[in-house]
């Protein structure tokens, strides 16, 4: 009678706790069915009744690395023969540079590390891992645990759909994929915090009730993000020039503006350096203090506008002359906005509100750009030596 009561009580507890359990859905037959099980060696078909004799292999040595070492071997129960082998993490990378232990990602990753596919300093919000299968069959499914404290109190899983970390409460069978499916995306963990060490463990599933224990933890630290911006002033040959502020461009001497004359291009260029690993690339914007070259002496302004100064009677603006960046096919390239990418004497505006001059939609390594400054004084402009404009430049990374 007491035994009966105990069973009832245990049953009641299990009924209440059952919703918290995670169950596999591969138990898809009213009869017993195990999908895709490999019995390793030893299984034979009986000659008389045709039954499979794998269950008779009780006592054979487990291939689960948890159960043996160099000093002991643990014989397992028949059920354990069906539990998937504990997988390992063959690579888990965020900031590797010049090398990678990952082997199934894009070629740029293999040769250049994560910086080659995430940009300078590597990845700040994403990572890539690959699975050591421990001889599990190709159709074995794997799940990923992730933590920031090596699974002391922060225990989450990687969502199999979004690849973002998710809580235990939303973890389900959809978060299991084969090795191939996990490794097909270039980045298979997204939504990470920057400058944070993450630990991951893998576990395998090869049929219902066959989930392995989690394997050993691997860890990687995300990049803190990176961005760089610099201005230099040099003539058109200054591709590698580095100059210090204050930065000035002048239309004087032989480059003075003569009212009614053709447009004049200043001798020096505005050179800029840019690099970032921000996934949305960057934008370089410009605006002017006056909206043109203004003379306090005459009160006149050579107004800046997007225009062809060959035909406009008067004007001032900038035009992109040079764009380059390191060649990383996986990363971004810099482009000049259409207003600033003209030829001849077509210029883009330097107005009092900010406008975008250059842009990249992806991370960029060692971007270098140059802008011409072109001006034309109309016949209504009175002579003076104090026409001036302060042009501001900002680089905004998009994280």
């Amino acid at each position: 009678m007491r035994i009966k009561n105990v069973i009832k009580k245990i049953t009641a507890v299990l009924i209440i706790l059952l919703p918290l359990s995670v169950s596999a859905t591969e138990l898809n037959s009213p009869n017993y069915k195990i999908v895709g099980v490999t019995t390793n060696t030893g299984g034979v078909t009986q000659t008389l009744d045709g039954d499979y004799s794998a269950l008779l292999e009780a006592g054979r040595v487990s291939n689960n690395p948890r159960n043996y070492s160099s000093t002991y071997k643990l014989y397992t129960s028949p059920e354990d023969a069906f539990i998937a082998s504990v997988p390992s993490v063959s690579c888990f990378e965020t900031t590797t540079s010049g090398h990678s232990d990952c082997t199934t990602g894009p070629e740029e990753l293999s040769s250049g590390g994560m910086v080659a596919i995430c940009g300078p300093s590597g990845c700040y919000d994403r990572a890539r891992f690959e699975i050591g299968t421990s001889s599990n069959p190709a159709d074995t499914l794997y799940g990923v645990m992730i933590s920031t404290d090596n699974f002391v109190s922060d225990i989450r899983y990687v969502d199999g759909n979004t690849f973002w970390p998710e809580s235990v409460s939303t973890h389900n069978l959809n978060d299991f994929h084969t090795k191939t499916d996990w490794e097909d995306p270039d980045f298979n963990i997204l939504g990470l915090q920057s400058s944070t060490t993450y630990y991951i463990k893998l576990f395998a599933l090869h049929g219902d009730f066959t989930q392995s224990d989690a394997g050993p933890a691997a860890f990687a630290t995300t990049s803190s993000g990176s961005v760089f911006f610099d201005i230099d002033i040099e003539d058109s040959s200054g591709i590698s020039a580095e100059t210090n502020p204050p930065y000035g461009i002048s239309f004087t001497g032989d480059y003075r503006l003569i009212p009614g004359s053709t447009p004049t291009t200043a001798e020096d260029r505005i050179w800029m350096d840019a690099r970032t690993n921000s996934q949305g690339g960057f934008a370089i914007l410009t605006r002017g203090l006056n909206g043109g070259l203004k003379s306090n002496t005459t009160g006149q302004t050579i107004v800046s506008a997007t225009a062809d100064l060959n035909t406009a009677p008067d004007g001032f603006g900038i035009q992109s002359e040079y764009i380059n960046q390191d060649t990383y096919p996986y990363l971004g390239t810099i482009t000049a906005m259409s207003d600033y990418s003209g030829t001849g004497n077509s210029v883009g505006i330097v107005g009092t509100t900010a406008t975008k001059v250059y842009e990249s939609s992806k991370p960029v390594f060692n971007g270098r750009m140059a802008l011409k400054v072109i001006a034309k004084a109309g016949t209504d402009k009175v002579a003076a030596a104090d026409y001036q404009e302060s042009i501001y430049f900002v680089l905004i990374p998009r994280f």
Partner: protein
């Protein structure tokens, strides 16, 4: 009944245990990561004090990874080592939602979809950090946020002012969406400050290139010429002042209106003649001509060969009409100073010349080389 009571002994504690476990799961849930964010600072120069021409504005674009109910706050936190640099003075800031910005990357999460929704009226404050706390911009009265929608908000100085740190290089900003003071979504990003973000363009606008020409007198009286006698002279000056790259003078006459330039009485022409020059000092040579003096000693003003005044009595001849204009003086190069030249006319009447009043209209053409 006894059985039910017996079961409840286990069901109730177990239920409580489950609820506690659920609570633990919720409270240990990590903050999410913002899907997309950028901070568009209006200036990147170090050490801006936030006032006047050093005012700093920012546009924040933010996309949460999960939906956030109305009543959340957004915080922009700056590094602890940079206290009071970003919030140059504490206080309320001016804040408003913006539906777009120049930084937007089209067709991406980094493109503002809508202005930051409000729950009441958006408010923002700048609070200064000290040891253990950081400069923080807090935006409050925010409406419900939808995951996958990028919201924009513009912040500028009010009673509080926004500045920049004094050190060039990377600076980490932590952006978070908070519910009940607890971050539910956040991301740390970097911005880069430079020593100087300004290129000053200066220009000299020169005068429009011009030439100013003057003739000291419009009439010159050569006096009385005696047929077959000596030659007579008269003169005036011409002046040139120009900002162009040079100037020129050319002349032509009218003469008798048909054959040649020269002094014309209505019946008799003392012609300028077909030769390039006239040596009126010669007893057998008659006619009308002119010379010009070299206007400078150093500048490259040049009197053309036939009109130099270096041989007394020898004058260059002129022709009729504009088509016969002759270059008499020019300069190739910027003029250093105003340069007068003396024009001397010489005339000698032939023996057959009838008595009368003789006149020649000499036209001067002056222009600049641009």
């Amino acid at each position: 009944m006894k059985k039910i009571i017996s079961l409840l002994k286990y069901i109730i504690p177990t239920t409580l245990l489950v609820l506690m476990l659920s609570f633990l799961i919720v409270t240990t849930t990590q903050a999410g990561t913002l899907s997309a964010v950028y901070v568009f600072l209006s200036r990147l120069k170090i050490n801006l004090n936030g006032t006047g021409t050093q005012a700093v504005e920012m546009i924040l674009a933010i996309d949460t990874s999960t939906a956030v109910a109305s009543g959340s706050t957004i915080k922009i936190e700056f590094p602890d080592a940079e206290d009071t640099k970003w919030c140059r003075s504490a206080g309320a800031l001016t804040v408003s939602g913006v539906a777009s910005s120049a930084v937007d990357l089209p067709s991406s999460n980094w493109s503002i979809d809508a202005a930051l929704p409000t729950s009441g009226t958006l408010a923002a404050t700048c609070t200064q950090g000290s040891t253990g706390t950081v400069d923080t911009i807090t935006i409050s009265n925010i409406g419900a946020l939808t995951a996958g929608t990028t919201y924009g908000v513009k912040i500028s100085g009010g009673t509080g002012t926004i500045g920049t740190d004094s050190t060039a290089g990377e600076h980490i900003l932590n952006i978070s969406v908070n519910v009940g003071g607890v971050p539910v979504d956040s991301k740390s990003i970097k911005i880069y400050l430079v020593n100087d973000d300004t290129v000053v363009v200066t220009a000299t606008v020169a005068d429009i290139a011009s030439v100013s020409c003057s003739i000291s007198s419009n009439s010159v009286n050569l006096g009385t010429l005696y047929p077959g006698g000596t030659y007579a002279t008269g003169s005036h000056t011409i002046g040139t002042s120009t900002t162009s790259n040079g100037y020129y003078w050319a002349v032509y006459g009218t003469g008798d209106g048909s054959t040649d330039a020269g002094l014309w009485s209505g019946t008799t022409l003392i012609q300028s003649g077909p030769t390039a020059t006239l040596n009126l000092a010669s007893p057998t040579i008659y006619g009308f001509g002119m010379t010009l003096s070299d206007p400078d000693g150093t500048d490259p003003a040049t009197v053309t060969t036939n009109f130099v005044n270096t041989t007394p009595g020898t004058f260059g001849t002129i022709d009729r009409l504009y088509s016969g204009a002759k270059l008499v003086l020019y300069q190739n190069g910027i003029q250093g100073s105003s340069e007068p030249s003396t024009v001397t006319y010489g005339a000698k009447a032939q023996p057959t010349a009838a008595a009368g009043n003789y006149t020649e209209y000499v036209y001067f053409i002056c222009g600049g080389y641009y």
